[in-house]
C-alpha cells in the first residue's frame, strides 16, 4: 500500500515538474520527486543511497537550480514544442512498451532477503576506481561552479 502511494507521488511530482510553467516551481516539484525517490530507495533496502539521494538530489541540486534560475531569470516558456505532441507521445508509448516488455517479466519474481551491508568495504577496496572517478567528477563540478558564478565577458579596459 505504501509503495503504491509513493509511486503515485513520484510520478505526480515528475509530471508537475514538467508541466508547470514557472521554472522555480518546477525545481520545487523536482525536489519533491527526489525526496519520494529517496523514500522508495529506502523501502527497497538501500538506506545509504537513500540518504545520499535525499541530501544531494533533494538538497544540493535544488539549491543549484534555484540559484541558476535566480541568475538566468524565470522567463515565460514558449508554448510550441520541438516536435508535435502526438509524435512525442507515440515515441514514449513505443519506448515504454519495449522497456516494459523487457523489464516487467524479469521483475515479477520473489525478492531475496538482504545480506548484511558492507558498502564501505566494497567502495574503498573492490571499487576504488569508482571512488577515483567520483573525485574527478567533483573536481569537474567545482570548475563548472566557477562557470556558473562567473560574470559575463568583461569589457577590455583601454589603457
Amino acid at each position: 500500500m505504501w509503495h503504491i502511494l509513493i509511486m503515485t507521488g513520484i510520478l505526480l511530482c515528475a509530471i508537475m515538474a514538467i508541466r508547470t510553467k514557472r521554472l522555480l516551481v518546477s525545481a520545487i516539484w523536482l525536489a519533491g520527486c527526489s525526496a519520494l525517490v529517496a523514500l522508495f530507495l529506502y523501502l527497497l533496502g538501500a538506506p545509504e543511497i537513500a540518504v545520499i539521494e535525499l541530501s544531494v538530489g533533494a538538497g544540493l541540486v535544488t539549491v543549484l537550480f534555484v540559484f541558476a534560475i535566480n541568475i538566468a531569470g524565470d522567463e515565460a516558456q514558449p508554448s510550441h514544442p520541438v516536435i508535435s505532441r502526438p509524435l512525442a507521445w507515440a515515441v514514449i508509448a513505443v519506448a515504454a512498451l519495449l522497456v516494459g516488455w523487457l523489464l516487467l517479466p524479469g521483475v515479477n519474481v520473489a525478492v531475496p532477503g538482504l545480506p548484511e551491508s558492507q558498502l564501505g568495504n566494497t567502495l574503498w577496496q573492490a571499487r576504488s576506481l569508482d571512488m577515483f572517478l567520483i573525485g574527478v567528477l567533483i573536481f569537474a563540478g567545482a570548475l563548472a561552479m566557477l562557470g556558473l558564478l562567473a560574470d559575463g565577458k568583461k569589457e577590455a579596459v583601454e589603457p
Partner: protein, 103 residues
C-alpha cells in the same frame, strides 16, 4: 490489489523514464531539459537498486548508484552553468536561440 514490490518499482522506472523522455522531446527551455534529465536519472537509480535487490548483490548496485548520483549532479551543474552563460549571451533560455547561422 496485490502487486509485488518489484512490479511497482518497474512501473516507477517506466514512468520516470517516459516522463523524462517526453520532456526531452517536447520542451525547449534549457533548464527544463536539465530537469528532464534529472527525472530520467532517478528512474535509472531505482533500476540499479531494483536489479541489485533481485540479484541479491545490493553492495555493487549501491556503489554504482553512488557514481550515478555524483555524475548526475555534475551534469546538472555543468548544464546550469551553460544555461546561465547562454542566457547572458543570447538573452533567452530557448534552445532555438542557439542557432546562430540561421538568420
Amino acid at each position: 490489489m496485490n502487486i509485488s514490490i518489484p512490479v511497482i518499482a518497474g512501473l516507477v522506472i517506466l514512468g520516470l523514464l517516459g516522463i523524462g523522455l517526453y520532456a526531452l522531446l517536447a520542451v525547449r527551455n534549457l533548464i527544463k531539459i536539465i530537469i528532464a534529465l534529472q527525472i530520467m536519472v532517478k528512474g535509472v537509480l531505482v533500476a540499479f537498486i531494483l536489479a541489485g535487490r533481485l540479484q541479491g548483490d545490493m553492495v555493487t548496485a549501491q556503489s554504482m548508484a553512488l557514481v550515478v548520483i555524483v555524475a548526475d549532479t555534475i551534469v546538472a551543474v555543468v548544464g546550469l552553468a551553460l544555461a546561465v552563460q547562454i542566457r547572458r549571451h543570447t538573452g533567452k533560455l530557448d534552445t532555438t536561440a542557439l542557432t546562430t547561422l540561421r538568420r
